[in-house]
């Protein structure tokens, strides 16, 4: 079994090799894309798509779910994934054109950045949950009632 992080690590290992052939650069971009896809597909709280509408592939559907989300951060990741998908398509299908070092390097950087953002978001949500639990487990005692003295 492998994780999204394994895809990214593999991309990094490939990119660190001294001899960067075009096929290597294309593999770097492809692996980076799949790292991000598998990371984002596990996210909770994405809107459900209308199944009566035209069927899209799972990759397009995930981009749509992210872009249609009410969460601004998710929408941004949707744009990132759409972008990387275009790069992955170029890497895998547009074999007659060139594929640059810039494309490969950018794929890695963007995925690393998005992974970091996901970690921060998850930590923030965990902390919010913990805070809620703390508040629940230690209820604040009601203030003691003191009788007011009537000043004559």
């Amino acid at each position: 079994m492998i994780s999204p992080e394994d895809f990214l690590e593999h991309s990094n290992q490939l990119y660190k090799l001294d001899e960067k052939s075009e096929i290597l650069l294309r593999n770097v971009a492809r692996n980076s894309y799949y790292a991000l896809y598998h990371k984002l597909v596990k996210i909770d709280g994405l809107p459900t798509l209308d199944k009566n509408k035209k069927e899209f592939g799972s990759h397009e559907s995930l981009i749509q779910q992210l872009r249609m989300s009410e969460d601004l951060g998710f929408r941004e990741w949707g744009l990132t994934l759409a972008n990387l998908k275009a790069t992955r398509t170029k890497a895998d299908y547009k074999i007659k054109g060139s594929f640059s070092d810039h494309d490969a390097r950018k794929s890695i950087k963007i995925v690393e950045k998005t992974f970091a953002e996901i970690t921060i978001k998850n930590n923030d949500e965990d902390n919010t949950e913990k805070l809620k639990k703390v508040i629940k487990s230690t209820p604040v005692p009601p203030p003691k009632r003191t009788k007011l003295q009537v000043i004559k």
Partner: protein, 250 residues
Amino acid sequence: MAPRLPKTVKSKIFDSLNESISKGIAISAFKLEALVTNANSLSVPGRYAVLSALYSHALQYDLAYQNAEYYMESGHNDSDFIADIISGLTNVNLFNKAVELSKKYPIILEYPRSRQYIHKSALYTLDVEYCEHIILKYNLEGHNMSFNYGEILHFFGNDEKLVSRASAYFNYVYSSLADILAEYSVLGKSVVFGVSQVEDYSSLHLAININGQCFDNVLDIECKWHKKLAQYVVVDEKLCGIAFSMEINC
């Protein structure tokens, strides 16, 4: 005949604009001041055209458009001046503004060079109705575009309402792009836009080529652009899948 500018002043200013384009860096405030002083020595209405091009490349969009309007309002329709104005606007990706100006002053379409810029601008802003109008009314021979308005319509399933929503989205896309590039004082080198078809799946991709900037800067600009783009809520599947990127011009 429309008044002509003294060649030396105009060419000096346009040399600076071309230098700024080739470096990918906007005209600085310091340099702008000197160039505006030079431009102000030119006679009206040519001065407005030169000022418009100048402000475009200094990324002072409001002043660029304002001076473009001053020129058009003057009624002196010199094809070179009009082309200078329109190319200035399109050089800084103000495609929506170029189309807006052309709709307000249709005489712009009478000049082949300006017409080509406007047609490109209408395509880039997904204004298919205006593209169709230009194609049907004028000859666009020699205008090499990688795609045409028919492909845009086809991409959106000939759904005119969807195309209209897409066009509204793209107006936002270019406005946000202009804001970001102004923040970084960067001029985009060129735009690559078109439909990509792989097997039975097609998608739109808009790429802005940047030069004179390092890798990290370009990545930073793209991330900021995406943050702005994410603020615009899209719900149509076709709009969700559009990719927007910044590329280093090699």
